[in-house]
Subunit: 202 residues, 2 copies
């Protein structure tokens, strides 16, 4: 905000809070606020109502750690999903990303982060014990580790694998390789080496 106030403190507060949303800055938050005010009945009122409801209803799924308005969550309570496979992801955003492409019709498990000694994230801070328990219950035959291809993600994947050792379950991870539509010239060496190593018959 400039030094001069354009509007009352209630509107200034709204602009400042909207500016904290990813994708919005101070300037676009101002534009969004104006848009809301000008579309009071069509957008402002319904959005406020939707936020009140969601804020009130949102909870963490006690089975998989997903965030939803019901517990068990939508994916855990969906009867058409394959109970024998659990896709392990770091965050809810990863679950949403996988669901966006409808890549898999299995159950999920959200770890809630990655192991990171520097940030003091220990195994107890992650939703790992619950995963072991789910696998131990027996219906699961495959765990797909869909963690990020970062050092923390891979470290976490190794730790989870260790915890699942001895249980009768297949553990797999996402393939590394050339992104679809990607150009070799722009790929890093690590990815290129992995893609070559994991080459498939044509």
């Amino acid at each position: 905000m400039s030094s001069r106030k354009v509007a009352g403190p209630e509107i200034e507060t709204l602009i400042q809070l909207l500016a904290k949303l990813p994708g919005l800055g101070p300037r676009s938050a101002k534009r969004a606020t104006l848009h809301l005010i000008q579309k009071k009945d069509q957008l402002f009122a319904p959005l406020t109502k939707a936020m009140e409801v969601a804020l009130d209803e949102v909870k963490v799924c006690s089975i998989c750690g997903n965030i939803d308005t019901s517990d068990p969550c939508t994916t855990c309570s969906d009867p058409r999903r394959d109970d024998s496979t659990i896709v392990v992801v770091e965050d809810v955003s990863d679950l949403w990303a996988l669901e966006r492409v409808s890549a898999v019709n299995a159950r999920y498990h959200v770890l809630g982060g990655t192991l990171s000694p520097l940030d003091e994230v220990t195994p107890e801070d992650l939703n790992i014990a619950r995963l072991v328990e789910r696998v131990r219950q027996g219906a699961v035959t495959e765990v797909i580790l869909a963690v990020n291809a970062t050092v923390e993600g891979q470290t976490t994947a190794h730790y989870v694998t260790d915890q699942l050792a001895g249980l009768d379950v297949k553990i797999s991870r996402l393939a590394h390789g050339v992104p679809v539509g990607g150009e070799l010239d722009y790929l890093d060496e690590g990815t290129l080496a992995q893609a070559l190593k994991a080459r498939t018959p044509f």
Copy 2:
């Protein structure tokens, strides 16, 4: 949204409504929703509260047509502003834009649009009569027409000027010319011609 639902209907509704904000699309609305849910206490709850308050308090200023949480609005009730000058703008967003640069310390008048026969916007739909009334009351010595340099903006400016004819008030408009930092090579002929005609001593 993809065909498959990631979350309960309350969250889907929230995503769809957030996607209607300028600057957000379906994908960034999803990201924003997740961000809200993950920062429930720090952002989601305060933002919802701020929206409730703003929604409840927002009103149109009976003097100038600005939108604010008080009537008269913040600029109309500011005692440090110059009562002798009224800056006429098309929309509240223009008022905010002028205030952002603190270009002028005067009063404002928001027309609420421009004359447009095609869109069936007639003088009665705009906040023009109230402007004439304000000028007629006598304290105003100058009206600055800060309308957009579009056909509709200029048509509206002419109409407003006609309505103020006979009243003892100076009417001015924003200067046309080369934008600060602009390059001549990229300017349209109309702007160049105007800039040349309105050249100032160096």
